[in-house]
Symmetry: C2
Subunit: 420 residues, 2 copies
C-alpha cells in the first residue's frame, strides 16, 4: 500500500506559518529572522538539490509574545490548516500554539519555547521540535561542573519581569535538572530596587551563586560581594548569558566610572556560561547576507547585530530539518499531513546546519554545547573560554586556559543552624 | 437604523456551548450542574414569559480542567460559532476559552474563573461575566475586618496542588486586594508532609493567620498552635471555606480520636469565612429538583449533596442574566451576534436569581456576601455566624453572637529584628 516513490518525483506545495514579532526590540524579531528563513527557502529550492520539489509558501504572521499567535492560527485555520508552524519563541504564547498544533497534527519547530515544561512531549506538546538548546540543556553544563568540582549547593539569583520571564525560565531549567543538589532561589523584580545586602545575606550557606539578570545589576552585586570579601575564592560566582554571547566578555565590568578597578577585580571571580558557537566556512556567506538584511531593515539598535544569534540560525536550520524529515517521510509513502510521522523523523538525528552540525535528541530537543568563560588576565581584565560542555555526549572539556585553583573553593562553609 | 421592535415579537434561536467536566469528582461536574441549566431553560421557555421567544439549543461539552475546552471550541467553531458560552470553571482552561471567545465577540458567563487575573476586562477577558463572587470579592471581607479591628499583618498559609490551585488563587485574591497590609505567604505542597513547626515559626511576627487547605491539615495546624499556646488570643486564626459551607461547622474539629478535646479548644480560636447563602421560598423547589437529579445520576459520593452549591446556582442564574441582557439588547435593535453589547448589559445590574437577588458590579463580576463564623459555645464546640459582609455596599454587619473580646488581640507583637 505504501509504495516507495522515486526521489526525483517528490514534489509538494507546503503552507508554512511563521510567528515572529513585528516589534524590532526582540533578538527574534521578524526583521532579523525572516532573511534567514528566506535564505533557507532559496537554498532548498536550488534545482540540483534533493528538496527542489518542495514549494514553500511562507506566511509571516505577528507574534506579540502574549496571545496574538494562537488567535491568528485559529482564525486562519478554518480555511486551510498550515503544514508547518515556525515559532513562536515566547513561552506563554508558544504554549497555546503548540497545544493546538499538536491537537491538529501539525509539526511546530521553534528556536524558542525553551522552558522546562515543553520537554514533556507525551501530551500537549507532542508536535514540538526545539531547534535551539533549551534551558534544561544549558543546565547540564552546571550539573557537569557541580559533579566535576563536587559542589553541592547554590543560590540562584534572577531578575523576573513577569512577562517574557527569560531569567525565570533559565533558572527553572537548573532547578528542574539539578533537584538532587541543595538549591535556593532569590527573585528580583525588574521594578524593585536591587537590595544587594539582602542578596548577599542569602549567599551565606551556599557555595555557588548563579545569576541571570542585566549587566548593570550583575556589576552591582559583584561590587557589593567584593566589598564584603566574598570574592576571595570562598564562593563561586556564575552568570548565564545565553543570547548575546559575543557582546559579553569585552569588559562588562568596565563603565568608565570610579568603580572600574574594583569591578575588574570582582569579576576575576565571575564566570560566565554561554552558548558555544561553532562556525564553518559556509557560515560566512550566510552571516554576511544576514548583516546586509539587518542594515537594509535599519536595525541599528540591536545588541547583537555583529553576530548571527541563535534564533536566526535556529529558524534557518528549522527549514532544513523539516525538509529532510518530510522528504524521508514521503519517500516512505507518507503525506505532508502526517505531522506525527514527520515530527518523529526530525527527532533523534544529526544534520548539517548553517553553522555546523546540529544534533537532535530522542525527545526532539537540540543538544546544546556551552562554553565556560573566566577572567584569565586580571591585570587586563580579559576573558577566555576555559572549558566547554558538549551536550551530545555529555562531556566536560577543560581547555589550556583552565585553572583548577580558580575553581577550588577556599573555605568550606558550615551551614548555619536553622532559626529555632 | 436601529428600530425598536415589539417585545412580544422577539424570537431567536441560540446556540449555547457549556463546558463542564464529565468527571463526577468536581462540585461543578456536568451531572451536578446540567439539571440547573435545563431548569433555567425550561423556566425561560414558559409561554407566558418575556423570554419564551428564545430557543436555546444547549450543547454540553467536556472540560477536563486542562485544555479540552478550548480545543473543542476551536474545532466546533469553523462550522458555527456559539452565541453564548457557559464555563469553564477551572482557571487555566477558562483563560484560553475566554481569550478566544473575547476575540470572537462571544459572551462567556462562568460561575468559575474566580482568580484575580480575570478582573482585567480591558483586554483579553473583555467578554467574561462572572456569576459567582471571585476570590478578590471574598478578600473584601478580610479587608473590611482588618480595617475594623486595625490589624496590620497576616500570614497566608495554603495548600497548592499545582493543578486546579483553588487555595493558591484564593490567597492570591487576598494578596491582590490587600497589598497595603503586611502580608507573607507560606505554601504547602499537597504531596509534602505538613511541617507544623515550620508553619508556626512563620507566624511569629504577624497578627493574623489565614489558612486555605483541607480540613485534616487545618486540624493539625490548630492542634500544634494550641500546644504552643498560640491560641490564647495572641493570634487570630481564620480559614477560608468557600465551596462546601454547609458541611463545615458541624464540628470539623471532631474525629473521634484522642485529640478531639484539644481540637475543640483550639478551634475556639479559629474563625471561618464562608459564602453567605440566602434562600427564598422559590429556591426550595429548585433545590428539591436538583437533589432528585443528583440522586438519579447516582452522585452519592459528593461532599455537598445536601445543598445546592454556588456553581449549580450560578450556572442557573447565568441563563437568566443572559436572557435579560439579550432581550434588552434586541429590544434596542441589536442582534445576538453583538457580544460586546450583550455583555455590557449583563454588567452593573441587579436581578432576581434562583436563590435571591444577584448584584453584578460595573466590571461584570458578581458582588459577594460572606459570613464570618466563630465558635460561640466552647463547651459544646458549636459555631454560629457572628458577622456578615455585604459586597454590594461594602458593609460589615455584626450579629448578636459577635464578641468584641474574641477578636481583640491579647498581646501586640514586636516584629523580630531582621537577621543581619
Amino acid at each position: 500500500l505504501l509504495s516507495p516513490v522515486l526521489t526525483s518525483s517528490i514534489t509538494e506545495d507546503l503552507e508554512v506559518l511563521v510567528f515572529l514579532p513585528k516589534n524590532n526590540s526582540y533578538l527574534f524579531s521578524r526583521a532579523r529572522v525572516m532573511p534567514a528563513i528566506l535564505y533557507a527557502q532559496s537554498r532548498l529550492s536550488e534545482e540540483s538539490g534533493l528538496y527542489s520539489g518542495f514549494h514553500f509558501n511562507i506566511h509571516f504572521e505577528n507574534s506579540d509574545c502574549v496571545n496574538d499567535a494562537v488567535l491568528t492560527l485559529v482564525d486562519r485555520s478554518c480555511q486551510q490548516k498550515p503544514d508547518l508552524i515556525l515559532g513562536p519563541v515566547c513561552e506563554y504564547e508558544a504554549a497555546a500554539v503548540i497545544r493546538l498544533a499538536s491537537h491538529w497534527n501539525i509539526p511546530v519547530v521553534s528556536a524558542g519555547a525553551l522552558a522546562a515544561g515543553f520537554s514533556n512531549k507525551k501530551g500537549e506538546y507532542s508536535h514540538l521540535t526545539r531547534i535551539a538548546p533549551s534551558y534544561v540543556k544549558m543546565a547540564e553544563t552546571f550539573s557537569a561542573m557541580f559533579e566535576h568540582f563536587t559542589w553541592k549547593s547554590a543560590l540562584l539569583v534572577y531578575e523576573d519581569d513577569k512577562e517574557e520571564r527569560n531569567c525565570f525560565f533559565t533558572m527553572e531549567g537548573i532547578y528542574h535538572l539539578m533537584s538532587d543538589f541543595n538549591l535556593k532561589s532569590y527573585a528580583i523584580s525588574v521594578e524593585e530596587r536591587l537590595d544587594t545586602d539582602s542578596v548577599l545575606q542569602n549567599i551565606h550557606d551556599t557555595e555557588v551563586v548563579i545569576m541571570c539578570m542585566g549587566a548593570d545589576r550583575i556589576r552591582e552585586i559583584m561590587l557589593a560581594a567584593h566589598k564584603r570579601r566574598f570574592t576571595s575564592g570562598n564562593y563561586m560566582f556564575f552568570n548565564v548569558e545565553l543570547f548575546n554571547a559575543s557582546s559579553y566578555g569585552n569588559g562588562s565590568w568596565k563603565r568608565g566610572d570610579k568603580y572600574d578597578s574594583d569591578a575588574r577585580q570582582a569579576y576575576a571571580s565571575l564566570n560566565t556560561v554561554t552558548l558555544l558557537r561553532t562556525v564553518k566556512p559556509e557560515f560566512e556567506n550566510f552571516s554576511m547576507e544576514m548583516k546586509k538584511s539587518s542594515e537594509k531593515a535599519g536595525l541599528h539598535d540591536c545588541k547583537d547585530c555583529e553576530s548571527v544569534n541563535m534564533f536566526v540560525e535556529g529558524f534557518h536550520d528549522a527549514m532544513l530539518l523539516y525538509a529532510i524529515a518530510l522528504h524521508e517521510a514521503m519517500k516512505h509513502g507518507y503525506t505532508k499531513s502526517n505531522g506525527t510521522e514527520i515530527t518523529a523523523r526530525m527527532w533523534n538525528r544529526t544534520f548539517e546546519g548553517i553553522a555546523g552540525q546540529v544534533s537532535m535528541d530522542v525527545n526532539g530537543d537540540r543538544n546544546g554545547d556551552f562554553s565556560l568563560m573566566s577572567m584569565t588576565d586580571v591585570e587586563a581584565g580579559t576573558y577566555e573560554v576555559v572549558a566547554n560542555y558538549f551536550g551530545e555526549n555529555g562531556t566536560f572539556q577543560l581547555l589550556p586556559a583552565f585553572s583548577t585553583e580558580h575553581f577550588t573553593l577556599r573555605e568550606k562553609h558550615i551551614p548555619h543552624a536553622e532559626m529555632a
